[in-house]
Symmetry: C2
DNA sequence: CGTTGGCTTGAGAGGGCTCAAGGCCAGTGG
DNA sequence: CCACTGGCCTTGAGCCCTCTCAAGCCAACG
């Protein structure tokens, strides 16, 4: 079954015909490593469903530092919904971290589909609801010290962690690479002690 | 016009009959100052639309400190959607900061209405989409130094600021009361200089 | 083998925290 | 009318965590 179909079926029920309609509205797009899917200053007009690879959404601050706000892997959605909704310039970049493939759907197209297929709107309502809840949790643990942040990250992102460069994880955790490196050393030492008994 | 009707009409179009159906599904609830609308450990099963007053949603950490994640004023929605969705115990409290009145709707009831009135689901989809975008922005400025956080807060929350106790604002900004107090002094001094020329 | 990218280590600085007082009302009761 | 109280905000001193800046290390690659 198509990965998008699987993902939708996990949340709402949709007929084959409806899903075919949905799938027709998407265009596939391949991205090379480090290629940008969205550039800051552009108005984002589409949503993207990740078929393969991994992407990150980040903000470039005044001093040129990158702040990762979001990752996306297989079966995740990624977009700057703030820009889409308000039709204003995005201040985020979305970049492929590995060679990736995404399915693209324009917001206008999506709105049309919502009218035809209420179940699709239910699905997106759930997606946003979950994303919102996840971000609320993230705000909480961003206020904890570095070590706990990392522990939480490791527990939530589990095996994805291995696919991510340290610098990206550090940024996502709101840490510098250096501090992140030190945090990991502390954890390593704890494990050594535990292992040694 | 009913405040909820106004709020819905700003985002989607809905007939009188549909809106009457919606409104019938709500129950009003009055809260005294400091009264809890949601207690940690409870499963949250409802959404709440604020008619009057103000509420805050906060997390009590292991050391007993409160972390405000969200405020709600007139015409805002507030709930622990994470708990609603997953039907698990909430780790948030929602408390009235002033004597307040909210309209309550159970999630089950809401799902039924979604089936009957697709426009309502559109409305909620938009609400969540906006809430998500707002939280993403919040994550960004939570990483900036205290002064900038406060400036941003003041620019976004504008006149609500006067209705909020300092301690709540401090917590929302991820600061202690003391640090927040110092930040405000710095800003006052800046203004004095500017005013004096 | 030099370069480049990604990770680690070190030393010093600084922003925000903790703990502990101190000030300023508004409300209350003598 | 005034002292007392409790809530709320401010101030101060010292500390700690994380940042910055600067090297150093290692593996991959040309």
């Amino acid at each position: 079954m198509h990965p998008l179909r699987t993902h939708i079926s996990d949340k709402v029920s949709m007929t084959e015909q409806e899903f075919d309609l949905v799938l027709d509205a998407f265009k596939p797009r391949r991205l090379k490593k480090n290629q940008l899917l969205l550039r800051p200053g552009e108005i984002c007009t589409a949503d993207h469903f990740v078929i393969g690879g991994s992407l990150r959404q980040y903000y470039l601050d005044e001093s040129g530092k990158e702040h990762v706000v979001q990752f996306a892997f297989e079966n995740w959605w990624i977009s700057d919904w703030s820009s889409v909704l308000s039709k204003t310039a995005s201040f985020y970049s979305i970049e492929a971290m590995e060679a990736s493939e995404v399915l693209v759907i324009g917001q206008a197209q999506l709105e049309i589909l919502f009218k035809q297929i209420p179940a699709l709107e239910s699905y997106f309502r759930l997606i946003f609801q979950q994303a919102y809840a996840a971000h609320q949790r993230r705000i909480l643990w961003l206020q904890k010290p570095a070590l706990e942040r990392y522990r939480y990250f490791a527990s939530v992102y589990g095996y994805f962690e291995q696919r991510l460069p340290q610098a990206q994880i550090a940024s996502y955790l709101g840490l510098t690479r250096e501090s992140f490196s030190r945090v990991k050393r502390i954890l390593r030492n704890e494990h050594r002690k535990t292992a040694a008994g």
